[in-house]
């Protein structure tokens, strides 16, 4: 069972709908035990980095960390990806998982924020999630903060500068865009994650 982690904020229906459509057994859950025992874990994106503080209060933070330690594939979407870093300028008092070093940053004042709409990502050949997609594909983004480029960046995007559109290390994946809202391309990314 794929656990879609519910931490009391935002809208998880879209992710569930997409995984159902692809024919994968999944459930929205806020139960740390179900997350710990899942075959895969998805942390969907919600509006604000500060809302991820609820993961710590509910025991879900530890459950996700345990699952990752066991080698369970993990996918963070949007704020779910940002949470894989140490922190975000959006809510400096909230700690992320810290799997990746560094801080998510605000877009520069030279561009409108949030970054909303379809933008092209440039994916490297090494990424397992993007293997079946053209090197340059359109994905749907909606966010005001982003992760800088670093050694685990596997896809980048340009908006007021280049930022990480996707990150990947071992069995842990993060995407800044919304695969569940990115049409056929997005569904292909989700399918890849489900069969890794």
């Amino acid at each position: 069972m794929i656990a879609i982690v519910d931490y009391g904020a935002g809208n998880l229906v879209s992710v569930k709908k997409a995984l159902d459509w692809l024919g994968h057994d999944c459930a929205i859950t806020s139960d740390p035990e179900r997350v710990r025992n899942a075959t895969r874990v998805v942390l969907p994106g919600v509006g604000h980095f500060g809302s991820t503080a609820a993961l710590g209060r509910s025991g879900l933070h530890g459950a996700i960390a345990d699952a990752i330690d066991r080698g369970v594939p993990f996918l963070g979407i949007c704020v779910g990806m940002q949470w894989m870093f140490e922190s975000s300028q959006e809510s400096p008092e909230t700690s992320g998982l810290g799997l990746f070093h560094g801080e998510c940053e605000r877009f520069p004042a030279t561009v409108k924020s949030p970054h909303v709409g379809w933008n092209q990502i440039e994916a490297g050949a090494s990424s397992r999630l993007f293997r079946d997609l053209p090197a340059s594909s359109f994905m749907y983004f909606t966010h005001s903060f982003c992760a800088p480029l670093f050694e685990d960046t596997v896809a980048c995007c340009e908006y007021g500068g280049r930022f990480s559109a996707a990150v990947e290390r071992d069995h842990c994946f993060g995407v800044q865009f919304h695969p569940e809202k990115s049409g056929e391309n997005g569904l292909k990314v989700l399918e890849k994650f489900c069969v890794i």
């Binding site: 709908k17 509006g47 949030p114 909606t142 908006y159 809202k181």
Partner: protein, 255 residues
């Protein structure tokens, strides 16, 4: 590069898609779920479903229509009409919408914008502004209740206020142009788009591809929305995107 979005709008009344000329004279255009799927397949970047009679008749949004439409849709989906409270918004999100569009309720209580944004994120809150040019032609006035009620509020000042309340996008409809096919109101769109730092969706008046070119170039719109030109096959989305692309406007193509 971030592309300009083409949004297909479904005006729904009694569970069927209709489209009015300047908000009246409705005629049937089909099933919302089928039309949404067809628009997505032909290249729409986003779907907006507006329950146009919900506020007027004080009905709640047709949640089953939303649910049925959302099930087969894997592009962004916005729902508006009759959303008056945080609970109304939550029900629409549960039914499968990604964003809610609010208008009359926000005018009555701007804090509703903040409440929905705090719970679901700013990206999930679209504030719709129905604007009509004033008689002296110097400014635009915001209207409530599907264009039925004047508010005496300046549309540009209201746009700035909704941004500060936490709205993620503005859906700006020119009541003067809506349903006429005579082109978007580029003056209105540019004035609002240049006054805020959140994306502005231009709406009302689309009659052909050149109108989209104009509203992106001269109106500074981030996205443009149309209804009837897509439903009745006056303009195929594929052709529209090809033309925009050939004019040097970045669009999602091929999809």
């Amino acid at each position: 590069m971030l592309t300009k979005r083409i949004i297909a709008c479904l005006d729904v009344d009694g569970g069927r898609v209709v489209k009015g000329v300047q908000f009246t004279n409705l005629r049937d255009a089909g099933d919302p779920a089928e039309l949404a799927k067809a628009h997505a397949a032909s290249g729409a970047d986003e779907i907006v479903l507006l329950d146009i009679s919900a506020t007027h008749e004080r009905r709640t949004t047709l949640l089953d229509t939303v649910c049925r439409t959302a099930r087969q849709l894997f592009i962004p989906f916005t729902v508006g009409g009759g959303i008056r409270t945080l609970e109304d918004a939550a029900a629409v999100f549960s039914a499968g919408a990604d964003k809610v569009s609010i208008n009359s309720a926000a005018l009555a209580d701007p804090e509703l914008i903040t409440h929905i944004a705090e719970r679901f994120g700013s990206q999930a809150v679209v504030v719709a502004i129905d604007a009509k040019r004033s008689k002296n032609e110097l400014h635009w006035e915001a209207f409530a209740r599907g264009g039925r009620t004047a508010t005496a509020r300046d549309a540009v000042a209201w746009a700035r206020q909704v941004e500060s309340c936490g709205a993620g996008e503005i859906l700006l409809t020119s009541m003067d142009r809506d349903g006429t096919g005579s082109g978007f109101d580029c003056d209105l769109t540019r004035t609002v788009a240049d006054s805020v730092r959140i994306p502005v969706i231009a709406s009302g008046g689309a009659g052909g591809a050149q109108h989209f070119v104009e509203v992106f170039r001269e109106g500074h719109a981030d996205a443009a929305l149309a209804a009837s030109i897509f439903h009745y096959g006056f303009s195929r989305l594929v052709d529209l995107k090809q033309q925009l692309s050939s004019e040097g406007i970045a669009v999602r193509w091929p999809c």
